[in-house]
């Protein structure tokens, strides 16, 4: 039937039409509605990046001497993609390469395995980068070997010898400065995560080497520069189909430190001398730190920590053995900014300032008995001297504890004594905080400690945090310890019982100890240096700096840091003036007299304060020597400390004297600024020049500090 045929043909037509419509709809859905989802999928599929890191910026000292530089070495890399195309997967090539380099082929094979792959050794042996990135297998090879490889390219498919920049440490004047400079290491997982899903060409990549401590870490962004990145489109077989883009490398910027290499070198060796002096007295002298600050702007001119390490050990990655050795020697962290120590008598300047603010007569006379009774406890002078009734200035000179006990006791009672609540006035702690203690100085180095100021409030808050465990332990009676040592368990139990019951109370004894820098108070040597700088400059607590500027690799100044004020000391001008007048007496006729015997104090008066802080558990006190000079026109603050080192005067004092001799050009009794270790007799305020080819203009000859 014709009609039936036509009808069915029309049905077919409609069917065909709907098929075409279906295709349109699906196409629209995939390409327009869901397009974004597939765009990125396509990009990830086929783009590979070849990354060549930029040359890292140099670190210069305040005078322009390079203290961290680069050396280009010849590096052998192996391209695994090229090897995979060989018939034997490159086995023959690797055997030849192993023979040429004189290393076992297994070692090269271990290196070529991607980290996390089956049978891969842990980093740094395994390769932590992309499969498309050539793997460095040998570094520092001699040029002849490199020429061999390049000339016999058919024998060495996929093997390349090329120049590669490594960190070197020119060490002018044998300076070490390891804790300031820091070191480089592979980028960490958390750093990669922190930058999110960035696709900027200068983002961090798994293969990147970044600063892991010190200035290298703090100023990593500036030093690292931007890498050369070539984006290649590749096909499923790994063949390059197209060059998608190329970003040229931007070399890293130069850091100009406030550190003077020559002064730093002096301070480092004087710190070692102080430690040895402690040991020659039979003390452990385990560790120490020394800091020199420009009191006029807070610049750190030198900062040393003992023990230290050779920064070059990190170049090319450390072995597990080396790392463990570094760890166990405690040399990785900087005692100057990370270590916190009881300040001892150096803290008395804070107590004196608090007394002035509280209306105590700074010109008045105070009793300095052999011992001071508070409640049923007796507090003694160090070495149990009594001086009778003396002026406050004299009390600082001879470091009389009992004078400060008396002052602190009066303040404690005024504040409400034992029953005062945590918000009651705490003049010494408040003064300490205004000097910047208990908070980070803000120095431009990572990992700084904030230290602690003992106070009513601190004790109450500490109790809040710990009372549960104290009370539980008191109830339990240290059952674990009791099994082995019943006596110790009894002692601990009694202690915790007391702590649990009224550990929140700021007792009279706490107040007395706090006034002489004992008890819960702890400071970093840098914090102490900033306290003495603030006294010297009339009350300004600067934020200390280790870097004064950033210069581009072609000599353009990128950034010039200006001094920043962290806080202002809450003491009146007259109180600070009193301290400025009183502290030179310490060096003239007080506890700091011996180490400065014969020093031209008439020309360069030195304001100082010694400290011999008792530390629970240590038989030997921490040796402190805090100072600034010239007292009548202050320029520098110098602080040195040695743990378990004995008295401040005997152990640290002589080294501080040597540092001042170096700073002012002192020889015997004569003073000649031209002999100062600082070129021109003072720290340079402006930035050194860097030529357009990247060479820094550094002092020449004897002042360069480089032999030969």
């Amino acid at each position: 039937m014709r009609d039936r045929s036509m009808l069915r043909l029309m049905v077919l037509g409609v069917l065909v039409f709907s098929l075409v419509l279906t295709l349109f709809a699906r196409l629209f859905y995939l390409q327009v509605i869901e397009s974004a989802k597939y765009e990125s999928a396509s990009a990830n599929n086929s783009v590979r990046e070849i990354v060549r890191p930029a040359v890292r910026g140099l670190i210069l000292d305040q005078a322009g001497r390079p203290i961290v530089s680069n050396r280009t070495t010849l590096e052998v890399t192996v391209d695994r993609v090229a090897l995979a195309r060989e018939k034997d997967d490159g086995e023959a090539v690797l055997n030849r390469l192993a023979l040429l380099l004189g290393t076992p082929v297994e070692k090269i094979n271990d290196r070529l395995k991607t980290c996390g792959a089956e049978g891969a050794k842990p980093p740094p042996v395994c390769w932590n980068g992309s499969a498309y990135q050539p793997v460095p297998v040998a570094n520092g090879i001699d040029p002849q070997t490199a020429i061999n490889i390049m000339e016999r390219s058919t024998d060495f498919t996929g093997v390349t010898a090329q120049l590669h920049a490594n960190r070197i440490y020119p060490a002018p004047f044998n300076v070490n400065a390891a804790h300031i400079l820091g070191y480089l290491g592979p980028v960490t997982e958390s750093q990669l995560e922190a930058q999110g899903n960035s696709d900027a060409y200068d983002r961090l990549r798994r293969t990147d080497i970044v600063g892991r401590s010190g200035l290298e870490a703090q100023y990593d962004d500036a030093l690292r520069g931007k890498p050369e990145v070539t984006s290649l489109a590749i096909d499923t077989a790994g063949h390059v189909t197209e060059k998608l883009g190329e970003n040229a490398a931007t070399p890293g910027n130069y850091l100009v430190s406030t550190i003077d290499a020559r002064l730093q070198s002096v301070v480092e060796s004087q710190l070692v001398n102080a430690v040895q002096r402690a040991r020659s007295q039979g003390y452990p002298g385990k560790s120490g730190a020394a800091v020199v600050i420009d009191v006029t702007n807070g610049n750190v001119l030198a900062m040393a920590s003992y023990p230290t390490y050779d920064p070059a050990i990190w170049v090319g990655g450390v072995t597990k053995k080396q790392y463990d050795a570094l760890k166990s020697s405690d040399s990785l962290s900087s005692n100057a900014i990370q270590g916190t120590f009881a300040p001892g008598s150096t803290y008395k300047v804070v107590s004196t300032a608090a007394a002035g603010k509280q209306g105590f007569n700074l010109g008045g006379y105070y009793g300095c008995p052999e011992q001071y009774k508070a409640g049923n406890q007796t507090f003694r002078n160090f070495e149990s001297h009594g001086y009778g009734t003396i002026s406050l200035a004299r009390a600082l000179e001879v470091s009389c504890n009992t004078v400060f006990y008396g002052i602190a006791d009066t303040m404690w009672k005024r504040g409400g004594g034992l029953d005062a609540d945590r918000t009651a006035p705490d003049p010494i702690a408040n003064m300490a905080k205004s000097f910047g203690l208990g908070t980070k100085t803000g120095v431009d180095l990572p990992g700084e400690s904030s230290g602690r100021v003992a106070s009513r409030l601190f004790k109450a808050e500490n109790w809040d945090a710990k009372k549960d465990s104290w009370c539980a332990n008191a109830l339990d009676g240290y059952s674990e310890t009791r099994k082995t040592n019943a006596k110790l368990a009894d002692f601990y139990t009694a202690l915790d019982k007391e702590n649990c019951a009224d550990g929140f109370r700021w007792r009279e004894g706490d107040a007395l100890n706090a006034a002489i820098g004992q008890g819960d108070t702890s400071v970093t040597p840098l914090q102490m240096a900033m306290v003495y700088s603030a006294i010297a400059n009339g009350g300004t607590v600067y934020q200390p700096r280790v870097v004064k500027g950033i210069i581009g690799p072609e000599g353009k100044v990128v950034k010039n840091f200006t001094p920043e004020v962290k806080s202002t000391v809450a003491a009146s001008k007259s109180t600070l003036a009193f301290l400025q007048r009183a502290l030179p007496g310490v060096t003239l006729r007080g506890s700091g007299e011996t180490p400065f015997a014969g020093f031209p104090l008439g020309q360069i008066p030195i304001a100082s304060k010694t400290g011999s802080a008792q530390v629970t558990g240590n038989k030997v006190s921490t040796s402190w020597f805090a100072s600034f000079a010239p007292a009548n026109n202050p320029k520098y603050a110098v602080v040195m400390m040695v743990t378990e080192g004995g008295t401040g005067s005997k152990t640290s004092g002589p080294s501080v004297r040597k540092i001042y001799e170096a700073l002012f050009g002192v020889n015997g009794r004569s003073v000649n600024p031209a002999r100062s270790v600082l070129v021109g007799g003072a720290p340079k305020l402006d930035l050194p020049k860097v030529r357009s080819d990247g060479t820094p203009v550094a002092p020449k000859g004897k002042n360069s500090g480089v032999r030969g």
Binding site: M10, L30, Y38, S42, A233, T241
Partner: protein
């Protein structure tokens, strides 16, 4: 001009002056233009897809040149098909059919046949050319069924059951051979063609319903079998290599969708599709050619391609409707069903709505046999149209 000619032609049917006709004027130019444009687009896409495959020692244009030779041959064959006399064609259809069935068996002859993508459906010729006899078989089956079902030439009469049975045998015999060649796509298309031709022939409704049911069941079974295979392949490859095995079916389908989806509105531009140029999509000069259109020409370009093929189908349906005899109508119907389902299968596979079976996209894909067969189909459509217009009173 061609469009209006067509429109006018129906009004002018009553004028005696139409008798005799004029070959050039009476051709369906819209049909030719759409098919021609699709062929040009196809050549560009084949060029883009194939140049990525050809490594530097080989001439990157060599594949394109081969494709263009095929196009020229196809156009010549199409022209011949448009000029054939109906009586001659009907007389020789059984011969064409028998030759086609025999050539269908040739790929099984050792040394002559080639297996491509798992299907034993190609004959290897010298010069790197291959012939896929199943493509010609589609034409032969359509012509043969039309001859049988239009035998009586009494349009008001429905075909006798014995004719329908014969037509079915004629269709099922090559279908079974193609099935043995593992060419699932061609089986689906031939099945659809068979149902469409028998339905339009006016056969009793029980035939149509019965065939539809059995075809749907058959297609479902085939898809089911296809899916089962895909599932097995996926499981195997993911066991061996959890990330990306270029031979896995799931991988192909994913890469195809990444390519099309990545194209967006306007595409990456010809020769610039990262998936295409990176050869992430397999056989993208043939089975997956639509991914090249999607990625490099974007939604606009791919939609134009669908539109062009849609126009071809619309013109073919019109020709079937206006055919003056049952023979012409059935041939046109068969061609519509063939091209429509082949297009839907090919594009649908790239778009992820049809199972993956290797069929070329008419006019677009590389592959000489397919190109020739589709242009012969265009020639036949024009032939039917010319015949209808010339036979008018």
């Amino acid at each position: 001009m061609s469009f209006f000619t067509t429109m006018r032609s129906s009004d002018q049917q009553s004028f005696p002056s139409r008798k005799g006709g004029d070959y050039i004027r009476d051709l369906d130019w819209v049909l030719l233009a759409a098919a021609g444009a699709a062929t040009v687009m196809g050549s560009l896409l084949v060029w883009s897809a194939s140049r990525a495959d050809l490594a530097s020692p080989t001439d990157p244009q060599s594949y394109l040149k081969k494709h263009l030779i095929n196009v020229v041959l196809a156009l010549i064959l199409g022209f011949i098909a448009s000029r054939l006399d109906h009586r001659w064609l009907r007389a020789y259809t059984p011969v064409i059919y028998v030759i086609s069935v025999f050539s269908l068996l040739l790929p099984f002859v050792p040394g002559l046949g080639t297996k491509i993508a798992g299907a034993q459906a190609w004959i290897q010729l010298p010069g790197g050319f291959t012939i896929q006899p199943s493509e010609f078989m589609k034409i032969a089956v359509i012509l043969m069924m039309a001859v049988i079902l239009a035998e009586k030439d009494r349009v008001t009469e429905e075909p006798k059951d014995k004719d329908v049975r014969l037509a079915l045998i004629v269709a099922v015999l090559p279908l079974l051979i193609i099935l043995m060649q593992n060419d699932t796509g061609s089986v689906l298309i031939l099945g659809s063609v068979t149902v469409a031709v028998i339905a339009v022939s006016g056969a009793r409704t029980t035939w149509v319903v019965g065939l539809l049911v059995s075809t749907v069941v058959g297609i479902l079974l085939a898809i089911q079998l296809g899916l089962l295979k895909q599932y097995q392949v996926d499981r195997l490859t993911s066991f061996i290599n959890p990330t990306a095995d270029a031979s896995s079916i799931a991988y192909n389908s994913t890469q195809a969708r990444i390519a099309i989806g990545g194209g967006g509105w306007f595409g990456f531009g010809l020769f610039h599709g990262p998936q295409t140029q990176g050869r992430f999509v397999p056989v993208n000069e043939s089975d997956f050619i639509f991914t090249v259109a999607g990625e490099e020409l974007g939604f606009i370009g791919a939609a134009i391609l669908i539109l062009l093929l849609g126009i071809v189908l619309w013109r073919a349906v019109m020709i079937a409707m206006k055919a003056d005899d049952m023979y012409g109508r059935l041939v046109a119907t068969g061609i519509v069903a063939w091209l429509a389902f082949q297009m839907f299968e090919n594009m649908g596979m790239a778009l992820g709505i049809m199972p993956i079976t290797g069929v070329p996209l008419p006019f677009v894909s590389a592959g000489g046999t397919s190109m020739m067969a589709t242009w012969i189909a265009i020639g036949l459509l024009e032939n039917i149209r010319l015949h209808s217009q010339q036979q008018l009173p």
